[in-house]
Symmetry: C2
């Protein structure tokens, strides 16, 4: 078990929306800080949703911090293939079995899958209850845990069933990353690099300088990187909580990435790994269409490589790839809507012909 050390909140970033305000605490040893939790729990009941592996490391401390509440625990199986209505229903059943009231608080202790299902359970239990996000993966800390997107996958597509439901707060603790396997840690770097690409050229350059320190998990560099990502995510979600405009740019690399994930049935590639390849392809396409320079597309490829991404470049045949991309996004007159780069640090939505996409894909597939 992790010995308990002094809790330090390094930064607090607040996501202010019309109806609600969600603080995102970034710190060390804060995931089981009683005061912090208590400040965001209304009733006398909580239910922690987690997974066996995570629980092994962190559940005991969290449970102790929640000693004053009726605290029920439910475990989800590992993996994106379990982000299903069935698992969501199990949470519903258990909440009812344990007589949870409208004043209950759900606590998601885990990565993106745990956070998304828990948030969706909170969105629908008795027409909406509170929940708290404690993301335990780097990718969830910089992306999924912030912004209130919740949901599950359907056989026909990712996140097809869900809701927008903001958590009461997000507790982002870098100490819980200590037990994160290196492959998953690296996958998280993909989404960090994404913020540099879509919104912050200076941050991209800073990442080029600090990628070795990040890979070595230098605490100060990591805190600065995560803080910058939280800052950008919050700024974007604030402008467009329901993802009908600017928030779309967060999908940079994701249309390509989703196609790769679908081919692998969510098993062979981690989400971040698929997004990294997707960002590479989107960058190459942006260069081909004369938005960014070839030099810039090479800088992007180099940073992704230096981060340890792009190790598993398994490409399907270009035709299969395109077919899957067509399923993910609406095709209008043979064109696909994609997020591309105008420059490093600025993304935009555009429509590209399947032919242009095909030419880039064929170079790699």
């Amino acid at each position: 078990l992790v010995a308990w050390k002094k809790s330090v909140i390094h930064t607090t970033t607040t996501l202010d929306l019309a109806n609600q305000s969600c603080p995102i605490y970034l710190g060390t040893n804060i995931y089981a800080a009683t005061k912090l939790l208590r400040a965001h729990i209304v009733g006398h009941q909580v239910m922690v949703v987690t997974q066996e592996k995570i629980a092994e490391w962190y559940l005991d401390s969290l449970r102790k911090a929640l000693a004053e509440y009726q605290c029920d625990i439910i475990f989800l199986p590992e993996g994106e293939q379990y982000k299903t209505l069935l698992q969501w229903q199990k949470i519903m059943d258990y909440l009812l079995e344990k007589n949870h009231e409208r004043a209950t608080t759900l606590i998601a202790l885990g990565g993106g899958v745990v956070g998304d299902i828990t948030g969706f359970a909170a969105a629908c239990y008795q027409r909406g209850v509170n929940y708290i996000q404690i993301p335990t993966t780097l990718i969830a800390q910089v992306d999924a845990a912030i912004g209130g997107k919740t949901g599950v996958n359907h056989a026909s597509g990712k996140n097809m069933i869900g809701a927008f439901h903001q958590p009461q707060c997000v507790i982002t603790d870098i100490t819980v990353l200590d037990t994160l396997p290196q492959r998953e840690y690296i996958a998280g770097l993909a989404e960090i690099i994404k913020y540099g690409l879509i919104a912050d050229a200076k941050f991209f350059a800073w990442l080029e300088q600090h990628i070795a320190a990040l890979l070595a998990r230098d605490k100060n560099v990591l805190l600065q990187a995560i803080h910058t990502c939280i800052h950008h995510k919050v700024a974007i979600v604030k402008q467009d909580a329901h993802d009908i405009g600017i928030r779309n740019i967060l999908n940079f690399g994701h249309t390509f990435g989703h196609a790769l994930e679908t081919i692998g049935s969510y098993e062979s590639l981690l989400h971040g790994e698929a997004v990294a390849i997707g960002m590479l392809l989107a960058a190459k396409l942006s260069a081909r269409l004369n938005w960014i320079t070839v030099t810039d597309s090479e800088r992007i490829e180099q940073l992704l490589c230096a981060a340890g991404l792009l190790q598993t470049l398994e490409f399907p045949p270009a035709a299969d790839f395109l077919r899957l991309m067509r399923q993910d996004k609406k095709v209008l007159g043979g064109k696909l809507n994609l997020i591309l780069l105008k420059t490093i640090g600025q993304a935009f939505k555009t429509s590209v012909t399947e032919q242009e996409i095909g030419l880039v894909l064929e170079k790699y597939c």
Copy 2:
């Protein structure tokens, strides 16, 4: 088939909330008015959710009015016992099968069960899409279709899974009531009487004068009654959309009523019939606790009787009744939270000892 006649919107009442504004149109021959529908449909796709019996009368006209859209139809089985996650999932599957996009609009053509499931499907499909309510029962027109409460039942309780999700508009057409069986029509009168009891003494007195005309379905009296109910429902929901305060008073009679429905497994009593008995018991209890006078409780009993309600007074043993009421609502120190009457026209939330409730129940059970 119903011959098509001139559409007349008699009144428009708008439910204004922080994020959204929902007009409630009350009129004659408006359920399939193309202009009205078109004004509230954004994309090029709609899915009508309905039931066989209703479809027989009204689907063809509605379909014609929607000729310009991709219009898919899905049928739900009849009855509260089918207000389940399974039926909700069938809608999700069908939306995906027919490639409905985020800009789609669901249309609920039916009573409360259809409206509640459809609204919940709209709340969760791709994290929320638009929907339109076309309530075809009196009870849905004056209650369920207004206010954005959506959801399904769980084996452990009514409406345990759901969301608050406001429709784009509600199209309340009294002509569709022409085919409503008298028993269901009468059940709707229970909720109409409820508004008089909880919020409007003058309306209660007006109902005493006009109950015969209402039973005979006099169009003008019916329009006036429904309009008054819409007005009160909107005023209450406006103050408390998420049902954490004043909106509770709409549950007058419902804690008793839910217990009766549970005993009958939602089959022997219609919801309105159960609520009518519940209101009678709540009124008797209010008199017993010296809030309303015995004369007032007799006026209430007389109006419910005159409306044709209270015909099937099948009471379970008082002890069973109390046990079920305990399940529906939280018990604190042997007391149950209930909505009672201070006077005719004014409801309030209070906690009552089980003993007091038992004394009233024993008189009837």
